[in-house]
């Protein structure tokens, strides 16, 4: 039984099918990349995995826990197991970095305040931003904000870490940094799912690549296979590279 098994996810809005029968698997500590042209539904899939998008059908099995996406309490169950880092981070400006991290653990999981704070500081230290603990997110750079957002997600102690376009808001040096971070986390056993259109990063980081188009999985492969020149995924990624270079 794979650590993560997503199957038969479908999302409709009115008569429009946004996702149809989407499924994929991943082992523990793997980095899965969802790629595809815009409108392919990859962000919707990510949002469905954290309960921000309702689904008409689908099941997620993660770390032994089976969740029916169409059930009314799916969102709560998902949020117990997964945590997300948004493209624009979604940090709470009106509170300190530290409070951003301890808010949910103390309020939702009822962890004692000083314990949560210690854990938060340890995480911030690991990410190299311990000195920013008492600052407001407004005073941080893009890369620093992302690290806060990642720390906040890690405070949830998730089995699954979801990243929405983790490299889009960063400059090249930071892109490499966050790539290293992702690899470190994966090595420690974190299963990561990212939506990305940065093909370079996708190539170097992923153990599995899922190609979506118009709401369906067109191809899914291990990164080694996907790298062979004639593989459809490789061809898609090359065309994306060309597009990005022209832009």
């Amino acid at each position: 039984m794979p650590y993560l098994d997503v199957s038969n996810v479908s999302v409709r809005q009115g008569r429009k099918e946004i996702l149809g029968n989407v499924g994929f698997q991943a082992g523990r500590g793997e980095i899965v990349s969802l790629i595809g042209p815009s409108g392919s539904g990859k962000t919707t899939m990510l949002r469905a995995l954290i309960g921000l998008q309702g689904a008409q059908s689908g099941t997620v099995t993660v770390d032994g826990r089976w969740i029916d996406l169409s059930a009314p309490n799916a969102a709560a169950s998902l949020r117990h197991k997964a945590a997300i880092v948004f493209q624009n981070f979604g940090l709470f400006d009106h509170m300190s970095v530290l409070r951003n991290l301890t808010l949910a653990p103390t309020l939702v999981h009822k962890r004692p305040g000083d314990e949560a704070e210690k854990e938060a500081r340890t995480l911030l230290k690991r990410l190299g931003i311990e000195d920013k603990a008492k600052l407001s997110p407004r005073e941080l750079s893009g890369g620093q904000k992302q690290r806060v957002a990642i720390a906040r997600a890690l405070m949830q102690r998730p089995a699954l870490l979801l990243l929405d376009e983790p490299t889009s808001a960063l400059d090249p040096a930071r892109v490499r940094e966050v790539g290293h971070l992702m690899q470190d986390l994966a090595a420690e056993g974190m299963t990561i799912i990212q939506v990305s259109h940065a093909m370079q990063a996708v190539r170097s980081l992923s153990s599995r690549i899922i190609l979506l188009q118009e709401g369906r999985v067109i191809h899914a492969a291990d990164s080694a296979d996907a790298a062979t020149p004639d593989h459809p995924i490789a061809r898609f990624m090359n065309s994306q590279d060309a597009q990005d270079n022209m832009a």
């Binding site: 949020r79 400006d93 808010l103 309020l107 939702v108």
Partner: protein, 216 residues
């Protein structure tokens, strides 16, 4: 000295009434505004009409002159036998109208909070009350507080109309003293100055808050 001891007593009495009308009406308006906003945002399945009722209420109340509401309410209260006095009616009327305006201000403020904030709060599995208390409202306050205080200044001006249903407030004091034979100009200079003393600090506060709370 133009004013006798009795005149000054009348002014004191009147200012007090104006202040009470403004504050009580204002508080009622805040409570009503919050309730209306909750109604308009509600997604409760077993009361689908709530949002519409709230929206309709706001649309209607903002298009009726305050004095018409005041007269209507006063005589309605009389007809129903409600024993709340002119002050009570005036406070009620101010509250009813203020609710509509404040609801608009509150909703406007909430709308300034980006959807990603809501998303983050949801993704962190924060319960409804925590989402509002810790994430949405603190940020919405930045856009709510300055216009809300500015609106308080408006209440104070509306209280002048309460004179028409018998409340002896500041405007009425001016009319009374002028009718008694005191020279109108000094009387009204005092009246207007007193209103100014009540309103201007709030106007300044509203502007100061706007600057302080504005996002960089």
């Amino acid at each position: 000295m133009v004013f006798s001891v009795y005149d000054i007593a009348l002014f004191e009495h009147a200012v007090l009434h104006t202040a009470i009308l403004s504050l009580a009406g204002g508080l009622l308006g805040v409570a009503g505004g919050i309730a209306l906003t909750a109604m308009r945002l509600s997604t409760v399945r077993w009361l689908p009409g709530l949002g519409l009722v709230g929206a309709a209420y706001v649309q209607i109340m903002r298009r009726i002159p305050f004095i018409v509401t005041l007269y209507g309410l006063f005589f309605l209260a009389g007809a129903l036998g409600a024993d709340i006095g002119a002050m009570g009616v005036a406070i009620g009327a101010i509250g009813l109208i203020a609710s509509a305006y404040l609801s608009e201000i509150i909703l406007g403020g909430i709308r300034t909070v980006g959807p990603e904030q809501f998303d983050s709060a949801l993704a962190l599995d924060l319960p409804v009350w925590a989402r509002w208390r810790h994430v949405v409202l603190p940020q919405a306050m930045r856009a709510i507080l300055p216009p809300a205080i500015g609106y308080l200044v408006l209440f104070i001006k509306d209280t002048a109309l309460a004179s028409q249903i018998g409340v002896v407030e500041l405007s009425q004091a001016g009319v009374i003293l002028s009718s008694r034979g005191l020279p109108a100009t000094p009387v009204f200079i005092v009246v207007l100055s007193l209103y100014f003393a009540l309103s201007y600090p709030l106007t300044r506060l509203s502007r100061a808050l706007e600057k302080r709370l504005a996002l960089s």
